[in-house]
């Protein structure tokens, strides 16, 4: 009996997957077999196989087959292992060990030993473990890492900083993404308030023959290019009813339909002075606009207050978000625009700080790929930050990443710092790595001119010489 072990392929279009397929995709890790994935996803074997076949025909997954597991573990042991295994990728060290953030060394150790005792393969030495053995070893490696990091004060502080930064960066990114949403919300609120206020203060109008659909105040329609939601529509109809009295047939036409011809004047409220239709409409519009302005001012105040409070808390991202909303409302307001510029600067600084620390941590942990990403994000925020560009290029080289990109970044750093030997060294290293000897030599020549005594420059030079002389051989060709 063989088992299917699916893995993801980069080919195929993964955007068209449905919810079940997406869930299944999230469980595919290249080691679990179809049965295990099915168990996790709550699908029968036949169902999971069907899903996998669908995904395979679309080129999204492929699979290898492996001999069916023979596992001598009981169900609870299996599920302990599977549950831990499923979390190995995402869970933080704290989550994995099941200890609180403030757990002391002793608690960390205790938790580590307890979990280790449950999943260490030696505990099941005589049992057949099949694919579970590898899983246990993977879990155990992660547990050990968690323990080692959390019981070393320095590494733990760095890790805390790192997860703090990661969370913060994510929060900021989300917040920025949400600004648009907040803006839309604020507008909706303004509109709602204006409508409600206008309706409340409106005297019962004389029977009007106006085409009500034409009377909607400009700001709302202008600002609501999207389809009107059911709620909005209902509210508007109710408003119109109140504005126009319960005149039969006085309903709003769906957009695009011509209005019926004005009917004969209907009964009216005799004790009030009668308004003509035009007068009523004008009044209505005026009132509405007044209210709208009022509500907008209220919102503006609210956003500015939010911004003030946020600034007091040094929460520059929140301040930035609030000011962006305010600025959208009153683009002509210089004062708000200026504050927004400052907030943007500060938020960027804060985010930059986060990216910088993250990049440095990742570099120390030799996660060069990650580090390169963080430096690049920093450079995106601060296009003139030569250090970010230079570090990003360096990290890419170390991560053995895309050398074209590295060269691009290093060149930008050189443009910004034409008198700094370090940026030449990095660019030179990129060239060297890419095998462009002449380029490397020319660039290092520049570095030498700037820093004639630097040992780094000297040693790079000698690397260039060496490469000229000898054929690269390792890893040697087999």
């Amino acid at each position: 009996m063989t088992a299917i072990v699916p893995h993801l392929r980069n080919a195929g279009d993964a955007t068209q997957v449905d919810a079940v397929e997406r869930f299944v995709l999230s469980l595919i890790d290249g080691t679990r077999d179809a049965k295990a994935i099915g168990e996790e996803a709550g699908l029968e074997l036949a169902q999971i196989e069907a899903v996998l076949i669908r995904l395979k025909t679309r080129g999204i997954v492929d699979w290898t087959t492996a001999a069916e597991d023979e596992v001598e573990l009981d169900d609870s042991q299996k599920s302990t292992v599977l549950a831990l295994f499923a979390r190995v990728g995402q869970a933080s060290h704290y989550e994995l060990l099941g200890v609180p953030r403030d757990a002391d060394k002793k608690a960390v150790k205790k938790a580590y030993y307890a979990v280790a005792m449950a999943v260490h393969p030696d505990r099941f030495f005589r049992k057949k473990l099949g694919s579970f053995k590898g899983k246990m070893e993977i879990i155990f490696t992660r547990l050990t890492e968690a323990h080692d990091v959390l019981s070393d004060a320095t590494r733990r502080a760095e890790y805390d900083q790192y997860i703090g930064n990661t969370q913060q960066a994510r929060a900021i990114e989300e917040m920025i993404a949400r600004t648009a949403e907040a803006l839309a919300r604020a507008e909706a609120e303004v509109r709602r308030e204006a409508e409600a206020a206008a309706a409340a203060s409106m005297p019962p109008p004389a029977p009007a023959t106006t085409r009500p659909s034409g009377t909607m105040p400009a700001p709302v329609t202008a600002r609501a290019p999207t389809a009107i939601s059911v709620d909005d529509k209902a509210r508007r109809e109710a408003l119109a009813k109140r504005l126009l009295g319960n005149r039969p047939g006085g309903s709003i036409r769906p957009p695009g339909m011509t209005a019926p011809p004005p009917s004969a004047p209907a009964s009216s409220a005799p004790e009030r002075p009668k308004l003509t239709t035009e007068e009523a409409a004008a009044l209505l519009r005026k009132r509405y606009e007044d209210r709208f302005v009022q509500a907008k001012e209220g919102q503006l105040k609210k956003q500015l207050k939010l911004a003030d409070d946020a600034e007091d808390r040094s929460d520059f991202e929140a301040a930035y978000t609030a000011l962006r909303v305010a600025n959208q409302m009153v683009p002509e307001d210089r004062n708000v625009a200026a504050r927004l510029a400052v907030a943007h600067q500060r938020a960027a600084e804060q985010l930059s700080q986060v990216y910088r620390e993250k990049a440095i941590y990742e570099a120390t942990a030799q996660h060069w790929d990650e580090s390169a990403k963080s430096w690049r994000k920093l450079a995106e925020l601060n296009p003139n930050n030569w250090e970010a560009l230079e570090r990003a290029a360096d990290a890419i080289v170390r991560a053995k990443g895309n050398l074209h990109l590295a060269a691009e970044l290093a060149k930008r750093a050189v443009d910004l710092q034409p008198a700094n030997a370090q940026v030449y060294v990095t660019l030179g290293t990129v060239y060297l790595e890419a095998g462009q000897r002449t380029g490397a030599r020319a660039i290092l020549e520049r570095a030498r001119a700037l820093a004639p005594t630097s040992p780094v420059v000297a040693s790079l030079f000698s690397s260039v010489q060496k490469l000229f002389g000898s054929e690269p051989k390792a890893p040697p060709e087999g």
Partner: protein, 608 residues
């Protein structure tokens, strides 16, 4: 209770075997009643293999064919400095083997080092079987913590040749800690200082109440032990003799062997007394009739001076290990001394001074390691045992990359099982294959890396160098087996190997050696049986012969009597012939006849 697993401490000088009993782990005594057996093997003039005390006893007269300290050679390459040193100082002959490995020549036959070790392991197996009265198949064998993979593999091969399934190789200091912590329910950080005959190890462990033994850091020197102390004394004696008589004692193998024994004896005595006499009459002769004698007084102070750098070196390694463990001396709750050399007062004092505390007397320095191996054996096969051992890999593992740069994937002192991944790229344009060289670090010499294995990943797309990414994953599983995988990230093509470190022997050679060792075991068993039968027969023959005169006197008058006497003589002759032929079944048959005759003779004598 599951199947029996024995624990064997395969020492440089002494070996010890233990097993988990009803009341806990126990050391098994050999036939002579000793708890340890010398790790010595010899081939006698009659081409018999002898092991242990008997081998040790004949070492002087059969110096060239007696192997000691073979452990120092296991898993080593012929051209290593350690082997060179052994070639220069050993009284047996060491030659280069077919795979740049090491062979030992005994009576014109080459033996691999694992084969020699297997003889010792087989002896330990037999010691256990004699006690248990049943065959033993499984074993946990210990090695110095600082052994590399090739040395571990050599030890495993030796186990296999000896007919044992080695279910786990564990580290000696770790084993000692197991026996220290077993059944004690302590929560402590301990340092195990193990100075034996050939190797030095230091391990820092944490013992937790719930049965977890976790090694934090370990280090050592696989060529530093009692043998080196002996060598210092030998040098001193040889030097002095040369000054006095102008003769080099090293030229004479037998003299060297006597010096070696005397030096070790003096060293051990000086652990108890302040001064001792080395007295070797007729050690060598000048010309045909001028015998020379060696006689010198050695004081404790002299030996301490001679070996002070050796002791200092162990302390230095302790300091480094503590640093690697990120611990202060004060955080170590107990220091455990293991190994015969820790009986030397100077060693004890140095350890006490360094750690700032008196070492524990908690474990027996000669037995703790074997006991620990037995404990681990039973923990593995017995599901009820709530105990796990989290050990570390003593050496860094990595691959050799462009420009012969060692790229580390798994650092030393990483808890196993473990796995690590790194991404590499091609180093040349249009490179279609990469060779992955799996290397192991060796902290005795930072620059030196041992090659553990190699494989080739082919089918790479032709591209400028640096563009093709190869993901390399190292994995050490719970059994300590290293596997390495390389994957072309573009195509997903994958190649992997299980790194079987080499002891220097091929699979075929090992199989041959297993067969030979089995033959030998049959031989040995048979010879024991032969000896027993022979003794029985000879005893009866002697008694019958004693009775002959009397019986002849009594029965000479009757025909019947004469018949009986002739028959008796016939049986005795047959028995003697059977003994001559070493024909065990025939001897046994004659023994029956002999005892009948004996009973009959005695009856005749008594009646009158």
């Amino acid at each position: 209770m599951g199947e029996k697993v024995i624990g064997i401490d395969l020492g440089t000088t002494n070996s010890c075997v233990a097993i988990m009993g009803e009341k806990g782990p126990e050391v098994i005594e050999n036939k002579g009643g000793y708890k340890t057996t010398p790790s010595m093997v010899a081939i006698t003039e009659t081409n018999r293999r002898i092991v242990g005390h008997i081998a040790k006893n004949q070492a002087v007269t059969n110096a060239e064919n007696t192997v000691y300290a073979a452990k120092r050679l296991i898993g080593r390459k012929w051209n290593s400095p350690q082997v060179k040193n052994a070639v220069a100082t050993s009284s047996y002959k060491i030659v280069e083997g077919p795979h740049r490995d090491v062979r030992i020549v005994l009576r014109d036959k080459d033996y691999s080092v694992p084969e020699i070790s297997a003889m010792i392991l087989q002896e330990m197996k037999v010691i256990a079987e004699d006690l248990l009265g049943e065959p033993v198949k499984k074993a946990v064998i210990t090695v110095p913590a600082y052994f590399n993979d090739n040395q571990r593999q050599g030890t495993k091969d030796a186990g296999e040749i000896a007919g044992l399934e080695v279910i786990r190789i564990i580290n000696e200091p770790t084993a000692a800690a197991l026996s220290y912590g077993y059944g004690r329910n302590v929560d402590k950080t301990v340092a195990v200082y193990d100075l034996g005959g050939g190797t030095f190890d230091i391990s820092i462990l944490e013992i937790a109440e719930n049965g977890v033994f976790r090694v934090i850091a370990t280090a050592g020197d696989t060529f530093l032990g009692g043998e080196d102390f002996d060598a210092r004394i030998i040098d001193w004696l040889v030097q002095g003799f040369k000054q006095e008589h102008g003769l080099d004692l090293r030229q004479d193998r037998m003299a060297l062997q006597r010096l070696k024994i005397a030096a070790e004896k003096a060293k051990c005595e000086l652990s108890g007394v302040k001064e001792t006499e080395v007295n070797l009459p007729f050690i060598i002769s000048r010309g045909p009739n001028e015998p020379l004698h060696l006689q010198r007084t050695l004081t404790r102070q002299t030996i301490e001076e001679l070996a002070s750098d050796l002791v200092e070196r162990t302390v230095e390694i302790c300091r480094q290990t503590l640093e690697d463990a990120k611990l202060e001396k004060t955080e170590v709750d107990d220091v455990i001394l293991v190994g015969g050399m820790t009986r030397m007062p100077k060693v004890q004092a140095a350890v006490a001074e360094f750690f700032g505390r008196e070492p524990s007397r908690g474990v027996h320095p000669d037995e703790a390691v074997a006991l620990g191996a037995a404990i681990q054996g039973s923990a593995l096969v017995d599901d009820g045992k709530e105990m796990i051992l989290l050990d570390v890999t003593p050496h860094a593992l990595g691959i050799m990359t462009f420009g012969n740069v060692f790229e580390e994937l798994i650092p030393a002192n990483t808890t196993v099982p473990t796995h690590r991944t790194k991404i590499f790229t091609t180093s040349r344009d249009n490179q279609t294959a990469v060779k992955i060289l799996v290397m192991q670090g060796d902290s005795e010499n930072d620059d030196h890396k041992e090659l553990l294995g190699e494989f080739i990943l082919t089918g790479l797309r032709r591209a400028p160098k640096g563009q093709i990414e190869i993901e390399v994953t190292f994995e050490i599983n719970a059994d300590g087996i290293v596997s390495v995988r390389a994957k072309d990230l573009e195509t997903g093509l994958e190649q992997s190997i299980q790194v079987t470190a080499t002891s220097g022997l091929t699979r075929d050679e090992i199989n041959d050696m297993i067969a030979n060792a089995n033959d030998d075991l049959v031989d040995r068993r048979a010879s024991e049986e032969f000896l027993a039968a022979k003794q029985d027969a000879e005893k009866l023959i002697a008694e019958i012969e004693k009775l002959f005169p009397q019986v002849e006197e009594i029965v000479k008058t009757s025909d019947f009597g004469r018949d009986a006497i002739d028959k008796a003589r016939g049986i005795i002759d047959k028995a003697k012939a059977a003994i001559e032929r070493r024909d065990v079944p025939a001897i046994k048959e004659q023994v029956d006849g002999l005892s009948r005759t004996h009973r009959m003779f005695k009856g005749v004598v008594q009646k009158t």
